[in-house]
């Protein structure tokens, strides 16, 4: 196959776009799509201070890389779950990227707070690791934004993640989640930061290709607790459809985006945690309950690695 742009040997065929591209032209093509997505859906506006939730995987490291290349200076935040080699290797890949981008990355070590890894924390409160993990991550991500003045939290969710979640929500008509999959979730009352997904129109295959072609060294292994067999099953089914009808996943998500405007936002009164001020649905947020359960009184400290801090003088080129 030849590159549609320059005629040289192509390195990737993109059947959803009926095209094939060489390395340089593919990188340009993908970064342009992310840039257009950011502007079209107002994910990051002039004056915003974005921070990327990084895990060490291909998507989060790539979105961090792309944003900085597109002229959106962004720092990173990583929650070290304390899961042996997996967490250690992830941290290495993340600090390498921070160095490469000359950006700062904040790291919260779960073991520094609880003196145990997230799996043991979960066991102590009779939850599965992913449930405790999700709760801690949500809290920490929000806290870093509020404490350190970042107003947009970027995540690396890609087209396949979104399509798989949408399929799951549709199959079981999970009304409460169905309309909450917008690429941009607005902030609430200054207590919850805005969350955006600049990769939601980029497939997992494109993101892996981008990482390989850009020399992004990501962690290939999965978190040992990622046994979400359902989401992998949905991804498999969607990829079978994609194989026979290229562009299916993109149509699925684009159709959803058109309909989402009509989705009604459910109003639920938000209360604030009396200990930390984090939004919650009782007197105390889950994180403060968890800390109490382990008799932990010390505050949450972030380690900071590398790079310069967010420089407000740096101009954003969009």
């Amino acid at each position: 196959m030849k590159c549609r742009v320059c005629g040289q040997e192509a390195c990737i065929g993109l059947r959803a776009y009926n095209t094939a591209l060489c390395a340089d032209d593919f990188i340009f093509f993908l970064e342009k799509r992310v840039s257009t997505t950011i502007r079209k859906y107002h994910l990051i506006d002039a004056g915003d201070t974005p921070i990327v939730a990084v895990s060490g995987g291909k998507d989060s490291l790539s979105v961090w890389h792309i944003l900085n290349r597109l002229g959106y200076p962004a720092d990173g935040i990583y929650v070290d779950l304390g899961i042996g080699d997996y967490s250690r290797t992830s941290l290495v890949k993340i600090t390498q990227m921070a160095e490469k981008l000359q950006r700062k990355v904040y790291v919260l070590h779960v073991r520094d707070i609880f003196e145990k890894g997230i799996d043991e924390v979960a066991r102590a409160i009779r939850r599965v690791p992913c449930s405790a993990c999700g709760m801690v991550k949500r809290y920490v991500m929000n806290k870093i934004c509020i404490d350190r003045g970042y107003n947009v939290l970027i995540t690396g969710h890609n087209l396949d993640d979104e399509a798989a979640a949408l399929l799951g929500n549709l199959l079981y008509w999970k009304d409460e989640y169905l309309w909450k999959k917008s690429p941009s979730l607005e902030s609430k009352d200054g207590h919850l930061s805005k969350k955006v997904k600049p990769l939601f129109l980029c497939s997992e295959r494109e993101m892996a290709a981008y990482a390989v072609l850009s020399g992004i060294d990501y962690i290939y292994e999965e978190c040992p607790f990622s046994v979400d067999a359902k989401s992998l099953e949905y991804k498999g089914i969607l990829n079978k459809l994609e194989e026979s009808s290229p562009g299916t996943k993109l149509q699925f998500i684009k159709g959803y985006l058109k309909k989402i405007k009509t989705g009604k936002e459910e109003k639920r009164d938000m209360a604030y945690c009396e200990t930390c001020g984090y939004p919650c649905y009782g007197d105390k947020c889950n994180m403060c309950r968890l800390l109490e359960r382990f008799h932990i009184e010390k505050g949450m400290d972030f380690d900071e690695y590398g790079g310069s801090s967010l420089d407000s003088n740096q101009t954003m080129v969009t």
Partner: protein, 68 residues
């Protein structure tokens, strides 16, 4: 043509030998993998499905799907 038995393929940390040089699409079929879920890197270069593998090529199959 057994003397051509020199195509080594790496997948998930394991090395496999492949009978003879062939097209990338054929290789994916042999491993029962879809082009949607795996990328093929030959001698450190990402290649398309119509690329022809040669003797002594270093081949790596990269899974693109991640869970969760």
């Amino acid at each position: 043509m057994c003397y051509e038995k020199a195509v080594k393929v790496e997948l998930e940390g394991k090395i496999y030998d492949v009978e003879k040089p062939m097209q990338v699409s054929r290789l994916l079929q042999q491993f029962s993998l879809s082009r949607e879920t795996h990328l093929v890197v030959v001698n450190n270069r990402l290649v398309t499905e119509d690329h022809r593998l040669e003797k002594d090529d270093q081949i790596k199959l990269i899974r693109v799907v991640s869970g969760g």
